[in-house]
Amino acid sequence: MTSYFSWNGNPVAFQPGETIAAALLRAGIIDLGQPLNTPGGRVFCGIGACQGCVVAVADAAPVEACLTPARDGLRLGSLPAVGADHV
């Protein structure tokens, strides 16, 4: 059974053990920013250093997508929509 998290309201499938970043990239989601937020967020360094892939998490602190294992039902969105209506 495929698992999903939501990205800006849209479902994104992931495989067990995969990071949020890996799942987003496979889904073709490269720009992690809001349309008017330039430069948009993006996966860049892959090791949690650049903070370019930090994503907002509903009801929790933002995390680096490249470090964080995807979990079923996570509701994620672009920064700086922390606490905003990205859920």
Partner: protein, 428 residues
């Protein structure tokens, strides 16, 4: 009362080697790792659900198997926390650790700390490097190791160093050979350094394997070639490249860049080997010498600490010899691939977090202090705390950018609720 542990931050080769060496000497170790598995970037393992393993050198596989076996044999004395990030040292000298799997920030009374957080990649800025679709070569390699699946669409690899042909060959073997590899340096102009490099068997045989793969997959490897700019183009990037005097444009989906590595020292405490709670650095986070040297350096740091704690009295001469060999290799590599810095175009983003461009940097006084660069220029004030723009500014100004003191924490995003629930051990 339990014996206070030695904190080891980072579960890559240096941290794993240090943790195993300390535990083998009978000391309790608290090993923390930001990912869900140990290994670091170099030994990043396939995600649990992924059966497709990418090709990697046998030497690295053997090294990690040995380290893993040592950790397992000493597991009784090593308390490992994965998905746990080092937030920094607070005003009361407490090492703050965020176990994200539990939403718990905790600290411990420590006997000492060894910090082995590895390296960050350096890049040379060009107009457009900040765009989505541009990724570091190392970041793409970590992703490939985990997923076994290459990025989709046309990929261009550019910058400098041995990682470029390595990731290119791995992408080719995984089914998506890059359109080209652009090496900034002109190694044929430094035959002396090349000849000395040729004496290092392990990296040279690895390089030969990569070269053969690139030749088979018909991936062009061009020296003296650079990316000059990138701009959004449909769902990809239009990338300007210069090979010698010729300027061309390529349309790609992903642009992977890399110009070497340097120790990840942003926000990391200063080494204080003689303090009451000694702090030592190990591995690429101390001196960027690569994965093989990191294992030696983790052992070296552990021995230094054991000596300081009166538990050993030998500095391992073999470690020092190995580290010196790695240092010589890196120096020859740097000579072979040397290229002069290029002044970026005025609109080139330097500090991505704060959107500051080269023109902003150029308005600052030539002798501006680190404080002025930060507070007036707003460079390095953002979320990454200067991990990327710091080295760029240093290279452009020709002098290191002094680090802020004391290091600012938290180094990583952390929930205020988790911070407020900070747990300390009751012995404090």
């Amino acid at each position: 009362m339990c014996e206070a542990p030695i904190l080891v931050v980072g579960g890559g080769p240096a941290g794993a080697s240090a943790a195993a060496s300390l535990a083998e000497a009978g000391l309790p170790v608290l090993l923390i790792e930001q990912r869900d598995q140990l290994g670091g970037a170099i030994h990043r393992l396939p995600a649990p659900g992924n059966a497709s393993h990418i090709w990697r050198p046998a030497r690295h596989r053997r090294n990690w198997a040995r380290l893993t076996a040592r950790l397992q044999a000493a597991a009784g004395r090593i308390e490992t926390h994965t998905q746990t990030v080092f937030l920094g040292v607070d005003g009361q000298d407490r090492f703050l650790l965020d176990d994200r799997s539990k939403g718990l920030v905790f600290t411990r009374r420590l006997r000492a700390a060894i910090i082995a957080v590895g390296a960050v990649e350096t890049i040379r800025p060009f107009s457009g490097w900040e765009l989505p679709g541009v990724m570091t070569a190392g970041g793409a390699q970590v992703l490939l190791k985990e997923t076994g699946r290459p990025l989709e669409g046309p990929i261009l690899i550019a910058g400098s160093g041995p990682l470029l042909p390595a990731i290119a060959a791995q992408l080719a073997k995984a089914g998506n050979p890059p359109v080209a590899v652009l090496e900034r340096g002109r190694p044929w102009n430094a035959p002396g350094a090349l000849a000395r490099l040729a004496l290092s068997w392990a990296p040279m045989s690895e390089a030969a394997t990569y070269a053969a793969t690139l030749a088979r997959s018909r991936v062009p490897y061009r020296c003296g070639a650079t990316v000059t700019q990138a701009e959004p183009d449909g769902d990809g990037l239009k990338v300007g490249i210069r090979i010698g005097e010729v300027q061309e444009f390529l349309h790609v989906r992903h642009l992977l860049i890399h110009d070497g590595i340097e120790p990840n020292r942003t926000g990391i405490p200063f080494p204080e080997p003689d303090a009451d709670v000694p702090v030592l650095l190990a591995g690429d986070g101390r001196e960027a010498l690569g994965a093989d040297a990191a294992i030696l350096d983790g052992h070296r740091a552990a021995m230094q600490l054991l000596t300081r704690l009166g538990r050993a009295n030998r500095a391992a001469a073999s470690d020092e010899r190995g580290l010196q060999r790695a240092r010589d290799f890196q120096a020859n590599l740097a000579r072979a691939l040397h290229s002069e810095p290029v002044v970026p175009a005025p609109e080139t983003v330097i500090c991505r977090c704060e959107g500051r461009i080269y023109a902003d940097l150029a308005t600052l006084a030539e002798d501006a202090s680190a404080r002025e660069i930060r507070l007036m220029g707003r460079f390095g004030l953002g979320a990454c705390q200067g991990r990327f723009c710091g080295p760029m500014i240093a290279a452009l100004r020709g002098q290191p950018l002094p680090v802020t003191t004391p290091p600012r924490w938290p180094l990583r995003p952390v929930s205020v609720a988790a911070l407020a629930r900070l747990t300390t051990d009751e012995t404090e």
